[in-house]
Symmetry: C2
């Protein structure tokens, strides 16, 4: 049986999970795939901290140079994280002739191009199934399963922290801050959760998915990104009343003339399969010309799901399967056509608008007049008899409109003397069963 | 660029879809995967019928021998269907040195072993992603994406006809026969729908999934199979009232001592992601030790989703990726350990029981006494004041019990003089969010 030495660089949560599989499932894996994966190096700056996993003597080291030098190691798992040290290590690994398997979505999304170029030049593989929703084999599906399809569009819940917070807010009737705190206590959100809650992590994953799905190259900065940190609990309640769930969606649409890529809190009908994806679960829903509507659902993060994806990549990289697929992934090396991007002002969507206005006669009429003047037609209205002083909420759902027109209309309406706060504006994906 | 000749044997719905992709997407596919797939032969007995697709001159033929003989064709798509002619053709293709891509679940489930053996002997590939839920890349996920995992169990809605019929019954308050008729009118059910509605088609897919998921060999006859043809509309209504949906599930469980494989109409909680898989959609929900709970959802059948899977297989077979994976799929060649199977009497499940009894004092007491004597404890009861003569329904949900005990109890109860019909007995999978 073929024996293959494997090194892990970065002994954090994910690195520990990978080591755990390689050590405890060695024989099973060998039986399943005809490869004996030998864990030979685990590198970390900190080799004192307990990880709850006993490594064989002599494996754990701070000496990364030993990995670069060791010619008996053809493949390295990079779980360092971040985009500076990891980038340096990644390049040095490739230059040393190592295939690399990674979960580092930030690195691939923002600095992936030179890495894939370098790998191609050296005939090496990069495995990155773990970079997007570890427990969901979406990268493999896009690289192989859907190869015959034009992917028309996709929408994903790709950040478990945000989805947990939104689910908690809704289930327990609590505001954003309280839900985030609970997520932190449960270990589902980090102490510094900015990259999750401001949408950046979702945007990284969106960029990777979009390159694979649409086969075109673009700069990461072209992804329009909003988070859940501005979400108000009452909008979740109104949305539910209207028959919608609010989810942080990573949306990719392949228009004939341009790509539309954006991360935004979005209303989707409760009948859409994504609407019932709750808690830390992730899911990606896509529309393909031949396969039709498809959804993949599972755990996106955590030690075990991420390690599962990394070990699958190890097997594919070592057996040569990854290299065969990589040759067609020009979208990462800039050889593909550069995509024209649709700017956020040009997107078309339905809208959820919540106005905060004084309850004076004629207000609703004035609002709808302005909307109408900008070509925005109203689908439904919620205005409740609140019998209170101060501003009252007026919720309007619109038919399809362009972002530019909606923003222009809101600019006018928010200047009304009766308008007491900026209008809340969320996008709505109307279609239920499919995209 | 590598050019590869492809033949299609069987010019029915699926064959037409494959030809359509190969003809209309030739350039796109070549760009995506570096392979130019040339359709050189389309073989069928009937070359007169219109398929709504214009083939290039000289491709359509009744002469299958030309395919066996043509050494320039390394891969053939078999879409003949059935298990006799298809089996003969399949073997002859392999003996002629052709790799084969198929959607034929019946053939692989019941007579797959000699085919995989023969392919292995001749170093040829068999691609069968299209054999289970065409639009869902589940075969690839089990062969590759979840390779690091022990699959603990899975449950699938794998027959679109049955799911459409059950959904229609529920949505439109109509009995089984009316829903089936509607499915036939819509083209979702065949004129001879027996293999679909009696569960056989689901059992074929279950057998293929179970071999891949559990890596063990077993005879197809060991799969316990029930269909939806005995389903009574009122049981769907009671189930809904209790918070459950009724789905025809293909269930595979990997117990330490034995495999449990069965196809049965089953109650699942409305909170389970499978419960909202409606109409012709399919889904497979699985529980893996590292990836956790995962679900893949999409279209299971039809020209376009099935063709999508076949073309993905063509690319993988030709590029050599399939052969790499096939080497580890011993479960199909009988080299794997033969599985011990759990007989249906030994399964453990929760139960939905609907008794038809005369509304006399003490009846419920007598029923629960018999259940208790067989170690079956009651979770909930629905007994409505019906104020009518003749038998009334009493619905009981039980805690976990063995099938043997339930059957013994029902044998006694059904002999009560107040019992006016055989008790309806359906299995219940209790867990919501995950298996």
């Amino acid at each position: 049986m073929q024996e293959v030495n494997v090194a892990i660089v970065g002994f954090g949560t994910v690195g520990t999970g990978v080591a755990r599989i390689l050590l405890t499932k060695k024989k099973e894996l060998a039986e399943r795939c005809g490869l004996m994966l030998n864990l030979t190096h685990v590198v970390d700056i900190d080799i004192k901290r307990k990880r709850g996993l006993a490594l064989p003597r002599g494996i754990l080291t701070t000496d990364i140079e030993a990995v670069y030098r060791d010619e008996s190691v053809p493949v390295v798992v990079e779980t360092v994280g971040g985009t500076t040290t990891a980038d340096r290590i990644f390049k040095k690994l490739l230059r040393s002739g190592k295939n690399v398997v990674t979960a580092n979505k930030a690195l691939l999304a923002t600095k992936g191009e030179p890495l894939f170029r370098l790998a191609a030049k050296k005939n090496l593989s990069i495995g990155f199934e773990a970079s997007v929703c570890g427990g969901i084999p979406i990268i493999g599906a896009l690289k192989e399963g859907f190869i015959a399809n034009d992917i028309l569009s996709f929408m994903g819940i790709v950040n478990g922290t945000c989805n947990y917070v939104l689910t908690k807010m809704m289930d327990e009737n609590i505001p954003y801050k309280a839900a985030l705190k609970e997520a932190q206590q449960m270990g589902y959100a980090e102490k510094q959760p900015a990259l999750d809650v401001n949408g950046t992590d979702s945007a990284h994953k969106l960029a990777i998915l979009a390159r694979l799905a649409f086969g075109r190259y673009f700069d990461f900065s072209a992804v329009h990104t909003e988070g859940i940190d501005g979400i108000d609990f009452q909008d979740l309640v109104y949305a539910r009343e209207l028959g919608y769930a609010v989810k942080l969606l990573a949306i990719g649409k392949n228009h004939p003339s341009a790509l539309e890529l954006r991360v935004q809190p979005t209303l989707i009908p409760l009948s859409h399969p994504l609407a019932s994806v709750d808690g830390v679960f992730n899911a990606i829903s896509l529309e393909a010309d031949y396969a039709g509507h498809c959804m993949l659902y599972g755990k996106g993060a955590g030690e075990r799901p991420t390690a599962s994806a990394i070990v699958a990549d190890l097997v594919d990289v070592v057996s040569g399967r990854t290299l065969i697929s990589l040759k067609r992934m020009k979208a990462f090396t800039g050889e593909a056509r550069k995509a024209r991007m649709r700017g956020i002002d040009d997107i078309e969507s339905c809208y959820y608008l919540r106005f905060s206005v004084l309850d004076k006669p004629g207000v609703l009429g004035r609002i709808s007049t302005v909307l109408g003047r900008h070509g925005i037609s109203i689908l439904s209205v919620i205005q409740k008899e609140l019998r209170r002083k101060g501003p009252v909420p007026v919720v309007i759902m619109t038919h399809l409109a362009t972002e530019r027109n909606v923003r222009a209309a809101l600019k006018t309406i928010d200047k009304f003397r009766v308008a007491k706060a900026s209008t809340v504006c969320l996008r709505v994906e109307m279609r239920g069963e499919s995209l």
